[in-house]
């Protein structure tokens, strides 16, 4: 039986990873439109770059969390 804590944390992480994956697909699909939009509103550029950096950090933290469990350093 999977504990409630594992179920909840895994669900949140899975949702976060899915959001990042969908965002990646959206970015690819809207590449040309985005480049046009940036020309008139440059702050979009910073939002895009900062968001991608944050997404990379979130993915790393998710991997690190499960890595710690696999290594036996933490248990839930």
């Amino acid at each position: 039986m999977v504990s409630y804590t594992v179920l909840f944390i895994t669900s949140v992480y899975a949702m976060a990873a899915a959001v990042i994956a969908i965002d990646f697909l959206e970015r690819r699909a809207l590449k040309e439109e985005f480049e046009r939009a940036v020309k008139s509103k440059s702050s979009l550029l910073y939002l895009r770059v900062f968001k991608v950096l944050m997404e990379a950090a979130v993915l790393w933290l998710i991997v690190a969390f499960f890595g710690q469990i696999l290594m036996g350093w933490i248990s839930i």
Binding site: S42, L45, V49, L53, A56, A57, W60, L61
Partner: protein, 186 residues
């Protein structure tokens, strides 16, 4: 002049790197070395921000390391003079390597890639030498740990920067180039 965009770059870098720095110390500690990590994942992010935006990115890494190491080590002169300053110097060393070689952070051509492959290990080595020599001089560590520290910083920081920084530079630099804050002009 300090403007909102520069403050934003520093704040975002610091905010991004702080949790990564905290967990890097917890996840991959180096026994015998205070608040040190063998895989310094935040370096991948603040190196990239520094290569794009200059000293403002490095300052973000510095603040993140100060807060993360301070959490474990206490907010003392040791933290300022050591880890946090080492993490301010390291990305700037990589930036200087790029400047000297006339390379660009897009990593498009051979010169860019060589600057990246050479600059990052040199920067990590400088950081390791600084951090652990100061630790040694302050009597925080002993000689055997000096070697361990320098070597693990050299390898661990370089690996983290290559693993995280390479895809970020290759995929995002074309966007960042459009920013007026991008420090490289052809």
């Amino acid at each position: 002049m300090v403007d909102a965009r520069k403050v934003a770059v520093t704040a975002v870098t610091a905010g991004l790197c702080l949790p990564l720095a905290l967990f890097a110390i917890i996840l991959v500690p180096i026994p015998g070395l205070p608040a040190a990590s063998g895989f310094w994942i935040p370096a991948g992010f603040y190196f990239v921000m520094t290569l794009w935006f200059g000293v403002w990115g490095a300052l973000g890494g510095h603040i993140a390391t100060f807060l993360a190491m301070g959490y474990f080590q206490g907010f003392t002169l040791q933290v300022w003079a050591d880890g946090a300053l080492g993490d301010l110097i390291a990305p700037l060393v990589a930036l200087v390597a790029f400047k000297l070689m006339g390379a660009r952070p897009e990593l498009k051509n051979r010169k860019d890639r060589i600057a990246w492959l050479v600059g990052v290990p040199i920067a990590s080595l400088v950081c390791g030498l600084w951090v652990h020599t100061v630790n040694l001089l302050f009597g925080v560590i002993t000689w055997p740990f000096w070697w361990v520290g320098v070597l693990t910083y050299f390898i661990g920081d370089s690996l983290a920067v290559f693993i995280v920084g390479t895809p970020l530079l290759r995929s995002l630099t074309s966007y960042v180039k459009q920013s007026p804050m991008y420090i490289w002009r052809d």
